[in-house]
Amino acid sequence: MTAQVSDAPVTPGAASGDVLRVEHVAKRFGAVTALIDVNLRLARGEVLGLIGDNGAGKSTLLKILCGFQQPDSGRIVLNGEAVTLKSVDHARSLGIDAVYQDLALIDQLSVYHNIFLNRERVRWPLLSNRAMRKLARERLDDMGIGLQSVDLPVAMLSGGQRQAIAVARAVYSEAKILLLDEPLAAMGAKEAALILDLVRDLKRRGDVSVIIIAHNYGQVLEICDRVNLLQHGGITLDKPSKDTSVQELNDIVIAEYRKALEERHRAG
């Protein structure tokens, strides 16, 4: 527990300090306890890697942070103020946006309609398609995402391009806290490089804080300032990326697996 020492009082709206703190969050689904006691903090402009094996509850935590689900207990502190995230829209209005594993893209809609989904520019009663097309174009160029046309349905894009569109959508919504769920899953080397570049670019801007959920430790360490390991319903490791290694993280996860295996042997 190297970094869990931010005991200094955080004043609301302080330029430094944590933009997000998760305190004692628990969540269960019927008989299954997904999260027992999660404590986590995220500094402004920081990129935090949240790792853990499949089923450790990473996606549950993400869904709580983006307002899709409510925790059973515990609280979320945003810029020093405890908040209840009532819905995805509510979380988004507070500057928290997520890019889900399934990307939440609509295959049938064009790139620019996807980017503006639910935040459409409207000259009532009609959509301002021209304005949205132009803004989407600008934003994608700005982020270095070289698409030929924003009119293409996203069904025609590659996995990396789709991910990039989803990230662009979240960034475009002026998200201050960006949650990326397995952004590199099932991605080729070139496409992964695109996403990593995108995150680096965000980091350079400094005003967006990012939590990346992943189980590829190598890529996470490459891009993140700090990593947290989620195990047994809580954070069991919190270290700056430079102080840990793929080897260490692997060892911890495999040790856990061995332990579970032994317990099962003993039980069976």
Binding site: A104, Q108, K190
Partner: protein, 353 residues
Amino acid sequence: MSEIVQRTPAAAGGSPGGLAGGSAVWGRLRTAGAVLVRQREATVFVVVVLMIVYFGFISTAGRSTFFTRVDLVNLSQIAAQIIIIAIGEVLVLICGEIDLSPGFVYMFAPFLMHYLIDFYGVPAIPAILLSLLFGAVVGWVNAFLTVNVGLPSFISTLGTGFILWGLTLTTCHAEQANIPASAAGIGRYLGSDAWSEIIWAVLLVAIFHVVLTRTRWGLHTIAVGGNQLGAREAGVNVARIKYGNFMITGVLGALVGIQVAFQTSIIDPSSGQYLPMFYSVAAAVIGGTAMLGGSGTMIGAFLGATMLAVLQDGFFVLGISANPLNMIFGGAIVVAMIANVQLARLRGRGRAI
């Protein structure tokens, strides 16, 4: 910065890379072919035109009654009913649902108007508006059962449809009723004037075409059907979209029922039922609306409905018995679906080239 390898997109209009100098006609033909492949509506449009030519000129060596006023009015009335309900079905189908009940709302709505006017002394226009509102209530119930209770819409709307069927027959004692005298005036604008129904249909198609393609409501409808979870995660109010589209369909079903009552000058418990729904779903599907949601167009449904109406009216003109008609309908629907699938494959290939 990393470059993204970009597949060649389908050119938006006009065929790219057409070497100048060669045969311009061939190029134009290819463009037309590309449009046909890309635009499902264009295919249906061509089929409709061919059918009209056949019934109008070829089948009877130019002595057809197809183009007489009586027949055109008849055609327009058949088409209008299918079109108006198909508008609702397109919206509901794009959402990934189906509504089997509009034909039964169609059945009950004119009776409700009759009860309100003749038994409760409600003036004509409020009575008509209340009957339309009743359609919205049925749509609300359909949506409630589907969205909140979690029934498949096939079942929830089947249930409400049967309930309405029974409700109509019970309350009218399975007997016809006359149009209330006070409603006859307004009825001219709704259905008793020859072209009134098709005018309503065209106006409604135009309005809902804009709603579907140019408004947030339309975009969210496609989003809900294309990827419901994704739409929800993006913050789209999925329930509201489904409620709204079921309610629109209910109102349109009620509207058609009232229109047909005025058109035929009688409120008949044997009109409506499941056929208008079947025709309108068929029209939507022929026009390219996906049964699994996410895509569909009003223009396509309009043309699909016109195609079914031309078939129906054409058989009438030819003096062929109505009995084999449904075989042709069935065949047309199957052929349309096969064409749908094949054209989708062609479209995919066209994209890769």
